[in-house]
């Protein structure tokens, strides 16, 4: 499939340009809007080019897991809304939606940006369960980076709701924010098409990708989560190069996490 598109694109790449005129390592314009849903305890909307995603944070009181009785927890959900792309269908989450949610989850969880112990309310009995839901509004490629950024900003925006007699009062938020460090993890996805590495693929470019690597990094320059996608194998040199590009580009996204 898409053999013609692929050879045409590779011809462009040989001249050093992409269909939309961007350089290989150039992102489209990123815009961020916060507090886009007053029903959520924290929310954000991120646009990268025409890709448009929303993330909303909700709090619930749950029971800590038996193996970590003094920790709260997070849960990331993602829905590829049929509203956002003619190729998405209504129904239970597709494998793509599950992968997206899990990759965003790992980027946040493994960076340890969130102090899970401070989410414990009463050891072994009560803790905060923080849910981040990602909704796609319009899809034009690179959902991984947009979703991870929206999720992180929504967490930063979130205010913990008031608790009365062990019940959450969603109508009243406290001034208290989540216990977040300054690690500000963000994800950069580097794609390989032929011998070319590009960032921030459009939906058209995603159709002909041989492989991709999503790299989540923290502010101090550590890698905290990765996900290889696509069927083509990556050589050690590929991985080196892709991680290098991700490390170079990540700060361009991180400036939006405030």
């Amino acid at each position: 499939m898409y053999e013609d598109l692929k050879s045409h694109m590779n011809e462009f790449f040989r001249k050093g340009i992409r269909f939309d005129g961007r350089k290989f390592d150039e992102y489209r314009k990123i815009t961020v809007e916060t507090n886009i849903s007053k029903s959520a305890e924290g929310s954000a909307r991120v646009k990268i080019g025409e890709t448009d995603v929303m993330a909303g944070v909700k709090f619930e009181i749950g029971k800590p897991y038996p193996d970590s009785p003094n920790e709260g927890t997070i849960m990331v959900g993602a829905e590829l809304l049929p509203m956002s792309n003619p190729e998405f269908e209504p129904g239970p989450p597709s494998i793509q939606a599950v992968e997206l949610a899990r990759v965003v989850d790992r980027g946040i969880r493994e960076s340890k940006v969130l102090d899970f112990e401070k989410l414990c309310i009463k050891e072994g009995e009560q803790c905060w369960v923080v849910t981040i839901d990602i909704m796609t509004i319009n899809v034009d490629g690179n959902l991984f980076d947009a979703a991870a950024l929206a999720a992180m900003i929504a967490l930063k925006e979130a205010r913990i709701p008031k608790v009365e007699d062990g019940r959450v009062d969603y109508h009243e938020l406290t001034k208290e924010k989540l216990p977040l460090s300054k690690k500000d993890p963000v994800s950069v996805t580097v794609c390989k098409i032929g011998n070319t590495y590009i960032v921030d693929p459009t939906v058209e470019e995603e159709k002909v990708i041989d492989s991709r690597l999503t790299v989540a990094t923290t502010k101090e320059g550590l890698i905290c989560a990765m996900q290889k996608g696509g069927v083509d194998p990556l050589s050690m040199e590929d991985i080196d190069k892709m991680v290098e590009i991700a490390s170079k580009k990540c700060d361009e996204l991180r400036v939006h996490v405030k």
Binding site: S39, A40, L81
Partner: protein
Amino acid sequence: MSRPDKRKVDETRPIEAKVGIIPRAVGSAMFKIGQTVAYAAVYGPRSLFPRFLKNPEKGILRCYYNMMPFSGCGERIRPGGSRRSKEISMVTENALASVVDLRDFPNTVVDVFIEMPQTDAGTRCAGICAASMALADAGISMKEMVAAVAVGLVNGKPVVDLSKEEEDLEGAVDVPVAVLPRSKKVVLLQLDGEIKPESLKEAIKMGIESSQKINEIQKATLKDKYKGE
């Protein structure tokens, strides 16, 4: 007794509307009334599967209403659709099917997806207002547009566009209505609460009048998109 937010009985909450907000869709719209926000996107006419659903005489309309997990006033809403969202999808579909003309597109489907990122009562009406604008934005033939608003009783008085606060008051009655603004016919009517037939009649009349005002906003928004710089 006056309304909690000091509105007049026939006054809706502030309304904002936009069309063409989702580039991938054939048509799309946002409709905001008070703190309730509805997005709608239209795809089609496109081929329909499974095949037995096809109608060789005209295209069919399908509507999907959904609240985002973080859009409720209380706890997170579990994704995956509820009995409530199924019912609302159906009554929305019926309301819009009454005006949409798909005779030129046999065997196809037009899908309408309605999503609520933020809610404060009146979501099905806001959804219908957005969907109707999105269908028009998609260039689908319609006999006329559909405008919708909830009417009802607050403190025993007929009012339009109940807020969540008003809906939760003791004795409140909630009557969502969707109206064809030109022919003044009702295409969606539901009721929760106890009301005298006379008050109901008055409330529905207020709904028809209010829908006409809402329709002016819908039309102005659509015209605005094509006005040029």
